[in-house]
Structures are given as C-alpha cells and as structure tokens.
C-alpha cells in the first residue's frame, strides 16, 4: 500500500512540473518575446558573462588543441591550399596594384561596397550555441553599444545573421543557417527576387519563389533584396548560387545557395545599427 501511495505522490510531482513547464512555454511563446521572461533572461546572461569570460580564458587553449585534433586532416589540406593560393597571389600582386586603384575609384564613385553608409558596431564572437538545436553565436557587445533586436550582422564577406536577443553585456545572433531564419534575396545577374531560408549547419540554403523563367547561373552572388517591410537593408551579399534546376510541372526553380561567410569560424563581426522602422523604403 505504501509503495502504491508513494508512486502516486511522485506522479503528482511530475504532473505539477510538466504543467509548470507548459505554462512557462505558453507565457513565453504568447508573450511574443517581451515582458518578464525577456528581462529574466537578460539578467541571467549578464550575470553569467564574467563567469563565461573567465572560463573561456582557461579553456580556450585546451579547446583549440582538441579542436585541432578533430580537424587535423582539414587543417593539413587547408595549409596546402593556402600555400598554393599564396604562390598564385604573389604573381598577381604586381598586376593587381593598378586594378586595385581602379577598383577603389570605381567603388568611391558607385559606393559599391555594401552598407557603408550605415553606422555599425564591431564586436567579437565569444561563444557559440549551447544547444544542438539552434544556430547562434554570442558577441561581447550589448545594449550600451546601441544594439537592438532585429539588427543585421555582417562580416566583410557578407551577411552573418540578425540579432535575436540583447542584454547589457551580450547579444545573441541567429545565424542565417538556422532553420527559423528567412531573408529576402535578389539574384545579382537577373535581379529576380526570392526568399532564402536556413536549413541547418553546413547545409546550403534553399531559395523559394524564384521564377521558372529566370536564368540562374552557378556561382552567381545573391544579395539582400531590401524590399518594403524587409528586415535587412538592401544589397548585403548573402551567398553564392550552388545549384539551380526546374522540376517538371513546378511553379518555381529549385535554387540553393552557400553562405559567403564561413560561419564555423566567426571571430569579429559588425552589427549594422539599422532597423526596418528607422529607414523606410
């Protein structure tokens, strides 16, 4: 009898905890990311930031060592590739000086390099995602630097993602490979628009809504479209076309792109202080 009662009591505790969890989930999801949950999270992240920094200082050398072990083959191949590249580059340096001057003049004329008229904050990536189910990184700047939720994040190569959470000392960036990430894009050669969405680590991003009649070339660069209501400013490079094909009877092309930025090795990023509302189309 006693055993029976005990297991009933345990079950009651489980039901209580499950109901509590479901309540918290509901409050968070329905609350739309604002309110009490948000401030609790911010507090926790700020409180943890110094602990994280201290632990990172201790762990990083050891971690790099193990990371190196896992990637030994990759590093070796990369070393060889970089040597080849270096030799090729040495040959090109002389020829390129003139081209570089031309390019600089051209860029100054047309403002070709993206988003150079937007204020930006440089930040360092201090942590990757603690979960296997989200593609995020954390940076070491937060609210005092002017960072707000929704701001785009870039490196020199192109789009990295967008800010999804900010506290006093940290900001969390959703990478463009996360399954919940969407970005309106424009194909650079044809000017046709579509929507790219994340598909997980190291997976190419599928692009929806590209017209069947549009000519898409492999390796072509796609940029953010910046159409009205878009969450990104226009003309930030996003990726390169990896494949494009039309299935018979389909209403859209199956286009996939690879991100231009190497998301596995982010170190420094720039947060563009830009919000959809702040610069209407």
């Amino acid at each position: 009898m006693a055993v029976y009662r005990r297991s009933t009591r345990h079950r009651f505790l489980l039901v209580l905890l499950v109901l509590t969890s479901i309540t918290v989930i509901t409050v968070d999801v329905r609350g739309g990311g604002g309110g009490a949950m948000e401030s609790i999270r911010r507090g926790a992240r700020d409180a943890f930031a110094p602990v994280q920094s201290a632990a990172d200082d201790v762990i990083n050398p050891v971690g790099d060592f193990f990371g190196g072990l896992f990637r030994y083959g990759h590093l070796k191949a990369e070393n060889a590739r970089l040597r080849n590249q270096l030799n090729a580059m040495k040959g090109k340096v002389n020829a390129s000086t003139d081209a570089e001057r031309e390019r600089a003049e051209f860029a100054a004329l047309n403002k070709l390099s993206f988003a150079d008229n937007l204020p930006a904050v440089a930040a360092r990536v201090v942590a990757t995602s603690p979960s296997n189910f989200q593609e995020t990184v954390e940076i070491d700047r937060g609210l005092p630097a002017g960072i707000q939720k929704g701001m785009p994040v870039v490196t020199g190569a192109g789009l990295v993602g967008k800010v999804v959470a900010v506290s006093q000392q940290r900001a969390t960036i959703l990478l463009l490979t996360d399954p919940s990430f969407n970005v309106g894009i424009r194909l650079s050669s044809s000017g046709d628009v579509g929507v790219a969405r994340g598909n997980g680590t190291r997976e190419p991003l599928p692009v929806d809504l590209v017209d069947v009649g549009t000519k898409v070339t492999g390796g072509e660069v796609v940029v953010t479209s910046g159409l009205q209501g878009s969450v990104f400013p226009p003309s930030i490079p996003v990726g390169k076309v990896r494949s494009a094909k039309v299935q018979p009877g389909s209403l859209q092309q199956e286009v996939t792109i690879d991100p231009l930025v190497d998301l596995n090795r982010l170190d420094f990023v720039k947060v563009l202080l830009w919000q959809p509302s702040s610069s209407p189309p």
């Binding site: 905890l17 609790i40 992240r45 990757t128 189910f133 680590t201």
Partner: protein, 171 residues
C-alpha cells in the same frame, strides 16, 4: 542557517558547475555539428541515483536554468528534462547495486531519447526544421558523449545528494 555540507548547499553548486561546463567547455567539443548536453546528463544521472522524484526535480531545475541561455521558448528544456529524469528514476532508481556499465548504458539510451523528445516537443511548439536526418546524428553524438561523462557525473551528483534523508514512504 544551512550547513555547507548539506544537499541544500551542494545541489545548487553542482547545478552551477554543470551550467558552466555546458556554456563554456562544450563550445569546443563538436563532432559532426553536434555537441554533448550535460544538463540533460544531470537529469538522467539524478534519476539514476535519486529515483523519480529527484530525477524530475533535477531535470526541471537543469532545464529551466539552461532555457535562460537559449532562444527556444522558455520552459521547453525543463519540460523534456523533467520527464526524462522521472522516467529514468522509475526504471533505474530501484536498482541499488548495479554493475558499473548499467548506468552508462542507461545514460546513453536516456540521452538519445531525451534529444528525440526535445525535437518532438519543440516541433509541436512551433520550432521549424528540427526533425531532419541530422537529428539522429545529434542524438547519437549526445548519447555517446553523455555516456562517457556519466561516471564523473554520477560521482558529483552522489556527492551532492549525500546527507539527504532517505525518501519517506509517505504512508
């Protein structure tokens, strides 16, 4: 006044230790795009040592603390981990003198199940793109890492719970 060697002081300490490991060390331990999940491990190990009640409580606490640092809805990990801790406690909690490998195997199975359950619940709550072939890779990696770490985790949790009064029969 809580004495320093009572579970009331030691349990939060172990929880914090696991959190620090989860948020710092594990950044560097990624295989096939997946890393271990020591908060889930904590729930499993607590269930093994303390039974369903302790498993569920540890799972809930570990999950809610982890949720603070994730972008997925708050409470999601808490829900999954407390169910896992409870289930492990029910299955394994009664076994007092098990062979050394039994907790390791239990940890592997429970971690794999926990990852799959998480993806399932997250999908129900509306997180896109989690149920993919890669999910099974993640589950396997988490299972293996957690099983390897299980002996250390078992010692830590046993230490944290030592001095706890044995569960009353509530009769």
């Amino acid at each position: 006044m809580t004495p320093l060697n009572s579970p009331r002081a030691k349990v939060p300490l172990v929880l914090l230790l696991f959190l620090v490991v989860e948020l710092t060390v594990l950044d560097h331990l990624r295989v096939f795009g997946a890393g271990p999940d020591v908060m889930l491990l904590l729930a499993v190990v607590a269930g093994i040592i303390g039974g369903p009640r302790v498993g569920a409580l540890f799972g809930f606490a570990a999950g809610i603390v982890l949720d603070l640092f994730l972008e997925t809805p708050m409470g999601l990990s808490a829900l999954v981990f407390c169910i896992v801790g409870y289930a492990v406690g029910n299955i394994q909690g009664g076994v007092l003198r098990a062979a050394w490998w039994i907790p390791v195997v239990t940890t592997f199975v429970a971690s794999v199940a926990g990852v799959l359950l998480y993806a399932l619940v997250a999908t129900v709550v509306g997180q896109p793109g989690l149920v993919t072939p890669h999910l099974f890779v993640i589950a396997a990696v988490v299972g293996i890492f957690n099983a390897l770490a299980a002996p250390i985790a078992l010692r830590l949790v046993r230490w944290a719970l030592s001095g706890m009064e044995p569960e009353r029969a509530y009769a």
